[in-house]
Symmetry: C2
Subunit: 341 residues, 2 copies
Amino acid sequence: MEKEITIYDIAKILGLSPATVSRALNDHPAINSKTKILINEKAIEMGYQSNTFASNLRRRRTNTLGVIVPRLNSNFMSAVLAGMEEEANISGYNLLISQSLESAKKEISNAKTMFNSRVDGLLASVAYDTDTFDHFESFIKKGIPVLFFDRIIDHPKCSGVVIDNVLAGFTATSHLIEKGCKRIMHVTGNLKRNVYSGRLKGYQDALLQNNLTASNELLMITDLSQEAGKYVAQKIDEMEIRPDGIFISNDICAVSCMKALKEKGYNIPDDIAVVGFNNDPVSQVIEPNLTTVYYPGQEMGKVAIRTIVNHLKGIQSIDVSDKIVLPSELIIRKSSLKEID
Amino acid sequence: MEKEITIYDIAKILGLSPATVSRALNDHPAINSKTKILINEKAIEMGYQSNTFASNLRRRRTNTLGVIVPRLNSNFMSAVLAGMEEEANISGYNLLISQSLESAKKEISNAKTMFNSRVDGLLASVAYDTDTFDHFESFIKKGIPVLFFDRIIDHPKCSGVVIDNVLAGFTATSHLIEKGCKRIMHVTGNLKRNVYSGRLKGYQDALLQNNLTASNELLMITDLSQEAGKYVAQKIDEMEIRPDGIFISNDICAVSCMKALKEKGYNIPDDIAVVGFNNDPVSQVIEPNLTTVYYPGQEMGKVAIRTIVNHLKGIQSIDVSDKIVLPSELIIRKSSLKEID
């Protein structure tokens, strides 16, 4: 193998400082565009592209980033996208967004559309039933970075931005146990997805640690929609031995469930304490206000864009980190504060 | 297989020159619209559609439609996009979505990105401060159809899908008057936009018809955010003579205002009756439940896609109709039902 070309080699040949070369390759505003072109051309000529920037320099840039999300009608996703837009604006990128509607088939088609739109990078949060990585391979092959967020797929060439879902599930469940709950139900989504399997694991760990049983009857896998919330309330109403606490994996479903339980005459939290997830605004509208897990959506969006832009600028490759883990936080409100005897 | 119908066959039957037929099918400005309709109808009748709308066929199709929205974090827009996705799926189109964040500058940049992504058609709901049509001209010039929805711009080459905002504002205000309100406040958004100016007109008409005054003090122009709702409640609390009813142009702002008023000790609806707009799910979570205007978002999305796809398929040109007006409906709940003496 030949010796690898560095910015020092380029600097020497052009009679410029290494700092100038580095800045030019990173598209720094302090360097004028003629110099940038000169340096970039020389870099390509010398074979510098095999280094970090690799494909980026060769490929025509569109300054567009593609974002594939499961659904747009969620407050959490809106917050993520708001954070992404804010950060993308700063870096001069435009976002193109598409939704998979929780269907792997549509996600594959979305990925193709993004590829054909020649996005410079792809950010994705995968659908309920996505089983393969195949539809992202074309990006990897072409050197287009792929970054997952929230719902991730593990892949050596990609990174993911997440929260610690196991910890969040553990904290939520432990809180219900502290408030006196002994029979805690967990309502969640498709367990193929890290976010739901992680929270379930946290729930189970908390029960185990407190010598409580995790029975099948107390676990409900749903699509976490409003309708699912009503269905859960109905199921609870029909149970012989009802739960005294529920941890539901999103607020939309939790609020709808609380509403239905209240209509059936149950007192929240004294009959049944409820904890949701996401800290959607609706959690502060329902009465009693919903205890929930604050999920830093906006921050997640910002970090995701920053990570992919840094890769594109050659500042730091995306596969340096396997995962970027952001903090989450339990926000305690009245829906879980039982009067303990 | 039958012999393929050509423009020469159509020209012969209609007694026109092939050039005229070709131009009409290509929507050339030199041909008057009556002739265009005649020729297009005959072309479809004769089975020319496999060949029609030349430009579309000649142009490489991407089967992608671009959608530019002001913001994704609204239930109404989520409903519109859900309807769009449903209909686009049926027709084999993929959507690429971008948000202007209510900024004309960003909308211009979004339009450019969509253009470079070679979308087959563009659907747009414009930002608060969009003043010109210029950024859509490149689409028109290239024969790419542009359709507005909800927040529209009038342009001879485009169409728009809307509700009758004047009527909706009139109905909402008249309802408050019927329930005994005599001093009705209206909270709305930027009046450059048809949706807000229309609802204001309806509000003013209703007051006028009932010999009530529309004072400046009772009109508040805001960004209709949650924060705006709190601000409105604060302003009301500081007033010497307070309103006995409020019509707020979206539910997010209305719910936040109700919440703040309740915290200040006001009874809803007896002290102040409230009517919102959009029928967001949160309108059924707040207590008392919010009277609001049902806005057929999903239907609007479907109609918009159907209209643009029909144009692309050569079934019906987009500029046949100036506007497509969908029905809206007042949904009466407890927030406006004052006990009348």
